[in-house]
Symmetry: C2
Subunit: 259 residues, 2 copies
Amino acid sequence: MNIVLLGSGNTATVLAKLMVAKQHSIVQVWSRTFANAHELTSKVGGIAIEFLTDITKEADLYMIAVTDGIVNDIADQLQLKNKIVVHTAGSVSKDVLSSASANYGVLYPLQSLRKDMTTVPEIPFLIDANSEDVKVLLYDFAKELSGSVAFANDEERLHMHLAAVVVNNFTNHLYAIAENLCKQQPLNFQMLLPLIQETAHRLTQVSAIDAQTGPARRGDGATINKHLHLLKENEKIQFIYQTLSNSILDMYHKKEELR
Amino acid sequence: MNIVLLGSGNTATVLAKLMVAKQHSIVQVWSRTFANAHELTSKVGGIAIEFLTDITKEADLYMIAVTDGIVNDIADQLQLKNKIVVHTAGSVSKDVLSSASANYGVLYPLQSLRKDMTTVPEIPFLIDANSEDVKVLLYDFAKELSGSVAFANDEERLHMHLAAVVVNNFTNHLYAIAENLCKQQPLNFQMLLPLIQETAHRLTQVSAIDAQTGPARRGDGATINKHLHLLKENEKIQFIYQTLSNSILDMYHKKEELR
């Protein structure tokens, strides 16, 4: 397909490379910052354009791959009649595209993408569209890009986006908290990497609910109290420790909570 | 070395297999449940013993690999003079071993170990001992078992144990929360596994503090509110969402917190 790409950030860049690798063509790239559009075309081909009014009417697919908060703004400026327009946002309704075209949908990559990735990880896609025809077309397109594709309507996609925030953004924040705790000692945070990898890897073999271990899981108040004592001058982290330990106690013990 | 192993759980089992693979011998295994000791000897050799009084005085190393809360109890029942006695617990002082022998230390595996592991992941070790001689001996021994070995005193080990709880137990709890959120829809939690792996893998390339993304990282209140709304009938998870989002806002924005 001939594709017009709106956006030049992490998602736009990785998906463009992936599409080009599958013999699709990026014909135009637009970005709020023209230099970024230009930079992306130098990698994936196509012409960088400065104004949304310069968009060709002749492409097969128009992909809005920008941060969730501005999908709506960009869609409002497009007039593409029956052309297929998609966005890639987890938390935005497909219907913000209804003013841009009569045929629209969503291709949401359920992955954390970064421009500078040297190898592209597996990217599951959630697909939606305003008609069965477009759904099927987008499904087949996504299947070329990924082994893992499923349909999800706006509400389902938002729920999956929430779950993705929990396992990606919140998990990374826990890593950052541990990194800071190590720096304060100092201890070598790198020594935790095998444990972090193993914790993630285990999910391929056992359910997270069944895999739970640790002081809160076994109701070991003595160890929990030792940890809370270590955090006595770090109230915010102590509060997170209590909140998550209480949640584990609640899930497995239905016991009285800490403090 | 000839090793007496006290314990037959996850840590004892995996370390026994690892030691045997490096040509050490397990001469005896004691467990609170004799059948478990017997089962472990069937895998790694040695004789299962029922009573702590049956422990040979002729081994080179006595390893107490039991849950943190009972290390002290077992140590109190040992009389091993100058023999080297170690425990494997992150949160227990080495000095609980002082009544058992004049030579003692700690070999703390910084990894989540399970009996049923088919392949053993990398296991970093933190080492401590009550003398330089024992420290060096334990360091060299751990180096045979692992590429990643460091010294850490009681306090440092407890801090690392706390960090391990954060990146392993708390992270797994977030996975469990996401698994439950998916079940409620239902959505396929398995589709999140590539994202989970990527989040963990990224730490080999970039610091967790720098790798942070997501609605809270970019101060995207609209998306945060959509998620909080989805969780309106799930108050406990909503509270965890708010707590972690506030912590991210605090780390990167020093902004007013949610609600």
